[in-house]
């Protein structure tokens, strides 16, 4: 399917351009009904605009808001609750028709259940909308302007209004406003990197140079940038019909699949719904066979469903994820899709760009060679000094050449900025040299002023050198200084001497050998090497009135004195090596995918640790053993550097082999399209793949990846649209902090779910015992909702703030097939152990309340029918007292409140034990997560308000409870805590044991 995608891409791209690149200017004029000199008429342009629509990319089709909203209403547990609501209404209808005394209870219950679904739906919808809005605001841009000829006049128009046939003028710095066939160009160069990934600017002319419209020089593409020069052209495609538009629509064709966390949550919903439905149906059958009325059995069924469904949990999960998203945004990871937060945590392979992501995206002087010695320069982001030995007179000479033979200048008005942050006018290498000199020597501009330039030959590709002649700053020295820099071998050719410790020595073969060695070494590190030489022109031959002429070169350009080499590289970001080693210990494979040269790519890979110091590629082994590459045992090589050209000819099987057998891989000279193939290859290995990208052409790969990461600074809009996450600082290290957050939230969601599931048993047991033992109802359906959506909400969110138990980045990424969010151990431990303790504790409170009010436990058994009989108003208790129906109801509500309070109290213990899954609470620290305490206080506060504040609102069924009943369940709360500490102790003590396997969730 990959090659198919490719063909499709190529086909659809070239189809749109047809053969405009082959036509002559007059043919084009005819075809588009325009005039190169006069342009379109405004009325004609308006017609075409009406026909073709504005020149802008249609944003990816968004799901209609109402559909998103309705999806929230039926997703997750909502269906189950809707069923509960409908049952409530049906039983209301039946009771109402039968003229029963209080049928409205069921009507209200139905309404409450429906409200719960609708409110949680609205909440989830709101959360999602909020996170989408962050992105929307992010992708908004300043409208682009274009210079157009219309009605024979030049006009500035918004680029949106361009139409096919418009004549536009572009100049250096402009973004190309549409697909344009050039009809005239002067030194025009475009940066096509967003389209092809090629970072070198490409020249553009009006000549037809290639059959393939993508390759020919006379077409400039929408959204690429004109780097220098000027050009005029005819607009041949606008909006979605441009090449970029087609790629973007192709990318949106790659379907959005479910995120790992969505799958986990679905799994969990199925599990809980399964339990709810099976217990519900089982007890429906039991209650029918126990001769309960069908209507009653249906009401029991509703109760069981409500007790089993953690109504607040999905909202809690959303909140936890968005909290993490917020935290990640602070660390420069902007998450578009909330669920992507966790996907990042389960990532097992990161395919990273090099330039800008792993590196600083600016050339920096890395090494120097003079006096026969290589010196290393500081390449960190915020260098203020350079530590290498600067005492040699050779360095003085070299520094002078570096300073003077350089046309780059700082933009004025930046004196207060750190040198590294100042904006420079000039190309990348000159900028590097300027900053390097500025750091070491201080004010370069004044040094240049003191050494007045008298002549200059700028760099060009035939000479491969740059030369300038200066007066010296020594008033006693009237000689001119000729300085030259350029490709080292070309520079060396022009030298007859070499400077060693400030003295000129003849350049013999031994010294030339030393130069070669140094040059190879620096080049081998993937660095761009420049040679520097100078010559003091003899005063007698070149007096200060000498007319230097750069065209005839009336000055010596050979027999110069070689001074030294400087090598430059786009250095890795200083945080990256650490981040890569973190990935390594976290079991995440980092693959570099770059358009750069293999040597540079490998050098950077080595310096950031993607290729570790000890590992070798097949080529390295061949070189070391001095054998042909074919004879090397490929299994011995842990690293691999794959060239894009090789990749082109590889079968999928071969690619899989490489991905499988090498732990350290660099793909160099790859096109963005090949990125897609690499991503698919990784996914075939079952990996969760994160991919970074910035160009438009990266968008299919970004979409295809499990998590696509777009660059915030360098990234194109299309890439940001296709991505799930935007890296605001373009820094690889930010991805790693994102991974950490993602893993943490997975762990914490486990804790949240375990916490939430536990009390479901304590809510469910009352129904079961009520049905079987016919005791007065221990807890009401509405009361359960107050736990699920009241007291429990803040504590379960608080668990999202829990710190990691151990170094989360020291374990392998979770296996998405085996490490489930809700596994058997979690469900069983929560349901069948802690949940049971909670139920026992709550029932003890229940029996205590009833006993102290007059109904001893023995009296309560089997009492249900009479208890609920409206016609019995002298119901006798254990002491012979007689109760009216209302007095019994009031006692029943007291029981509800007591049961509720007991669950709340025990949930406090549950909350504390859920802080850790393995460590003791004392290791984790009780007070490190302050939010937990907010949770505990809120929980108790809400319970107090419900009992004492709202205890007189009859509909809520809460009663001001006697104070001592708050403490009945405390021993059980302590038991829960002690039991869990013991569980954790054994897990720590006996790893791998039966206990560990069965009790660790």
């Amino acid at each position: 399917s990959n090659s198919l995608t490719f063909c499709l891409l190529q086909f659809s791209l070239s189809f749109g351009i047809q053969d405009d690149h082959k036509l002559s200017a007059s043919e084009l004029e005819e075809k588009y009904g325009t005039s190169i000199n006069k342009g379109l008429s405004s009325s004609r342009a308006a017609e075409i605009l009406a026909r073709d629509g504005p020149n802008s990319l249609t944003p990816p089709k968004a799901t209609p808001e109402i559909v998103k909203f309705l999806k929230q209403m039926v997703g997750g547990f909502s269906i189950l609750l809707w069923i509960g609501a409908v049952f409530s209404w049906i039983s209301f209808g039946i009771q109402f028709a039968q003229g029963a005394e209080s049928p409205f209870d069921n009507l209200y219950l139905g309404v409450v259940l429906a409200l719960v679904v609708i409110l949680t739906g609205i909440f989830a919808y709101y959360q999602e909308a909020k996170s989408t809005n962050i992105m929307a605001s992010f992708s908004k841009m300043i409208p682009q302007q274009a210079l157009v000829i219309r009605d024979a006049e030049k006009k500035e128009l918004p680029a949106e209004q361009l139409v096919v046939g418009d004549i536009v003028e572009i100049k250096g710095g402009d973004r190309i406003p549409a697909d344009i066939r050039l009809i005239s160009a002067q030194g025009c160069k475009v940066d096509n990197s967003s389209l092809t990934g090629e970072s070198e600017p490409q020249s553009r002319s009006c000549d037809f140079t290639h059959e393939n419209p993508l390759e020919t020089k006379n077409i400039a593409f929408y959204s690429t940038t004109c780097v220098e020069g000027t050009a005029t052209g005819i607009v041949i495609n606008t909006g979605d019909r441009t090449v970029i538009g087609r790629i973007a629509s192709l990318a949106s064709g790659v379907g959005n699949e479910k995120t790992p966390i969505a799958i986990e949550i679905e799994h969990f919903v199925y599990l809980v719904a399964g339990v709810a439905i099976s217990i519900g149906v089982l007890f429906f059958i039991i209650s029918v066979s126990m001769r309960y009325k069908i209507l009653d059995s249906i009401i029991f069924l509703i109760g069981i469903i409500v007790a089993n469904v953690p109504e607040g949990l999905l909202a809690t999960v959303t909140v936890s994820l968005s909290l993490t998203a917020k935290r990640m945004a602070k660390k420069n990871c902007l998450v578009k899709n909330l669920e992507a937060v966790e996907t990042l945590g389960s990532t097992s392979i990161i395919c990273s760009d090099k330039t800008g992501t792993l590196t600083q995206n600016r050339m920096t002087v890395a090494h120097l060679w003079f006096d026969n010695q290589i010196y290393s320069a500081d390449t960190s982001e915020d260098q203020t000094t350079q530590p290498f030995d600067q005492s040699s007179p050779s360095w003085t000479a070299l520094s002078k050449i570096v300073t003077l033979c350089n046309r780059a200048e700082f933009r004025p008005g930046q004196e207060n900025l750190p040198i590294m942050k100042r904006v420079v006018v000039g190309d990348a290498s000159e900028t590097a040299l300027l900053k390097f000199a500025e750091v070491i020597l201080g004010d370069v501009m004044s040094i240049r002023a003191q050494n007045k330039k008298v002549a200059e030959i700028p760099f060009n590709s035939t000479n491969k050198f740059q030369l300038s002649i200066h007066e010296t700053d020594d008033p006693n020295d009237k000689r001119f200084l000729l300085v030259m820099k350029g490709a080292p071998e070309r520079i060396l050719e022009r030298c007859s001497t070499i400077m060693i410790n400030g003295k000129e020595e003849p350049l013999d073969s031994e010294k030339a050998e030393a130069f070669q060695t140094a040059y190879m070494e620096l080049g081998g590190m993937g660095e761009r090497v420049l040679g520097f030489c100078h010559l003091y022109l003899p005063e007698n031959e070149f007096p200060d009135t000498y007319p230097f002429d750069t065209d005839s070169m009336n000055f010596p350009t050979s027999n110069l004195c070689f001074v030294g080499l400087l090598s430059m590289i786009d250095p890795p970001r200083s945080t990256v090596p650490d981040a890569v080693s973190k990935c390594r210990s976290a079991g995440i494979k980092v693959i570099m995918v770059t358009g750069d040269h293999p040597i540079t790519a490998k050098a950077i890979a080595k310096s950031v640790g993607i290729i570790s110091a000890t590992s070798e590629t097949v080529e390295d082994i061949a070189k070391r053993l001095n054998i042909p590459v074919e004879q090397v045992n490929r299994r011995e090589a842990t690293a691999a550097v794959v060239n894009g050209m090789e990749l082109k000819d590889m079968s999928l099987q071969q690619l899989d082999d490489i991905l499988c057998n090498h732990s350290e891989i660099v793909f160099a000279r790859t096109s963005p399209q090949q990125k897609l193939i690499i991503v698919e290859g990784c996914q075939r290995q079952g990996a969760v793949v994160a991919v970074t990208g910035d160009g438009v052409n990266d968008s299919p790969a970004l979409k295809k990846a499990d998590i696509g990461i777009a660059m915030g600074i360098a990234g194109s809009d299309a890439a940001k649209n296709a991505a799930d996450m935007v890296l605001l600082d373009d820094n690889f290290a930010s991805i790693v902090t994102g991974v950490e957050e993602g893993r943490l939230i997975f762990d914490n969601l486990k804790k949240t779910i375990a916490y939430t599931l536990t009390k479901n048993i304590a809510e469910l047991c009352p129904f079961l015992i009520y049905i079987i033992a016919s005791i007065p109802m221990p807890i009401g359906t509405i009361t359960i909702l107050f736990i699920d959506l009241g007291t429990d909400i803040i504590p379960s969110v608080a668990l999202a703030y829990e710190k990691a138990e151990s170094d989360i980045m020291n374990r392998r990424p979770r296996n998405k097939k085996k490490d489930r969010l809700v596994n058997e151990q979690l469900a069983v431990y929560s349901y069948l152990q802690i949940g049971i303790i909670q139920s026992v504790g709550a029932f003890v409170t229940y029996f205590t309340v009833y006993a102290e009010q007059g109904f001893l436990p023995s009296t309560l058994l089997g009492v249900r029918v009479d208890w609920e009989n409206n016609a019995i108003n002298d119901f006798e208790d254990s002491y012979g007292q007689e109760w009216t129906k209302y007095q019994r109801m009031y006692l029943q509500w007291t029981g509800y409140t007591a049961f509720f309070v007991s669950i709340t109290i025990q949930q406090v213990a549950d909350l504390i034990i859920r802080k850790t899954r393995r460590n003791s609470i004392f290791q984790q620290g009780l007070f490190r997560n302050k939010v937990i305490w907010v949770g505990i206080f809120s929980q108790i506060g809400i319970a107090l308000i419900l009992s004492y504040g709202l205890g007189h609102v009859t509909a809520l069924n809460f009663i001001p409870l006697r104070f001592q009943y708050w403490f009945v369940a405390v021993p059980f709360a302590i038991l829960i805590w002690v039991y869990d500490e013991v569980r954790k102790l054994f897990i720590r003590r006996y790893p791998g044991s039966w206990w560990d396997k069965n009790m660790y969730y």
Binding site: E101, K258, A340, D706, E852, Q881, K885, N998
Partner: protein, 288 residues
């Protein structure tokens, strides 16, 4: 986002499930080896035995702490409920409808009364003592047999015309029916604050409209010597004092709403939620 969920056919799902139940290669039964199942079952058995033990222990200590004679709290029993005999409940509370000319319609009402009064025959009351003082019968000591307290006798003949002795049909056929009002027992409840509480029946909502009622015993009072109640354990033979009301001028063929309140200090009848606290309301309709 990439594909993570594989589509499975139904037969694959079945096969997977079958493998889950019994996997012959790994010898796993529902994901565990048999010995593992034994261990886990034993663990849960032990766990639940301990939990049951804890529950039993809790209930045992609860039983040890509660007072066998009277409950610790009477939070819900501030004022006694009142009940009516015969008690026929319809959709909206007590509804006593009968037709004087159709014996069947009132015979079961009469039977209810007769059955109810069997507890008040002299034979049934022979263990209780005759009380005469019109004061609370306060007993600080256990003077009765088997370490109990004494209870006062209440026999049906105290209801005179409504006792069912002279008129076994309780006036139903004549359209002047007797109803028996009973006040619920509450331990150590002293109604009336020294004055005997009495029953007062009126039409609901129209208290000025005269309702001719004969009350038995005289004035419709509950004699104070039946109070306080000391509980089932202390007074096993206690029986509630009763007041019978005989309605004398019931309009025929009209549904009448009547309320009988108990008037006395400490007895409230204005609880909006509880229609039976301190009063009993009923609908009466006599046809002929």
């Amino acid at each position: 986002m990439a594909t993570l969920n594989e589509k499975k056919t139904c037969s694959e799902r079945m096969e997977n499930f079958r493998r889950f139940v019994w996997n012959p290669e790994t010898k796993l039964f529902m994901g565990r080896t048999l010995i593992n199942w034994v261990w886990i079952s034993l663990y849960y058995l032990a766990f639940y035995v301990v939990m049951t033990g804890l529950f039993a222990l809790s209930i045992y200590s609860l039983m040890r702490t509660v007072n066998p004679y009277e409950p610790d709290y009477q939070d819900q029993l501030k004022s006694p409920g009142v009940t009516l005999r015969p008690d026929v409940y319809g959709d909206r509370g007590l509804q006593i409808y009968y037709n004087t000319s159709e014996n069947k319609t009132w015979e079961r009402l009469v039977t209810t009364l007769q059955t109810f009064l069997t507890a008040y025959t002299p034979a049934a009351q022979h263990l209780n003592v005759n009380c005469t003082g019109d004061k609370y019968f306060i007993q600080d000591t256990f003077d009765g047999p088997n370490n109990t307290k004494l209870s006062c006798k209440f026999t049906s003949d105290m209801l005179q015309n409504c006792s069912g002795i002279a008129d076994p049909t309780f006036g139903f056929p004549e359209g002047k029916p007797c109803f028996i009002i009973k006040m619920n027992r509450i331990i150590k409840f002293y109604p009336g604050n020294g004055t005997a509480p009495r029953v007062d029946c009126t039409y609901v909502g129209d208290e000025s409209r005269p309702l001719e009622v004969d009350y038995y015993p005289v004035n419709g009072t509950f004699n104070l010597h039946y109070f306080p109640y000391y509980g089932k354990k202390a007074q096993p033979t206690y029986s509630n004092p009763l007041v019978a009301v005989k309605f004398l001028n019931i309009t025929r063929n009209v549904e009448l709403k009547i309320v009988c309140k108990i008037i006395g200090a400490g007895i409230t009848f204005d609880n909006v939620h509880d229609p039976y606290e301190g009063k009993v309301e009923f609908k009466l309709k006599i046809e002929n």
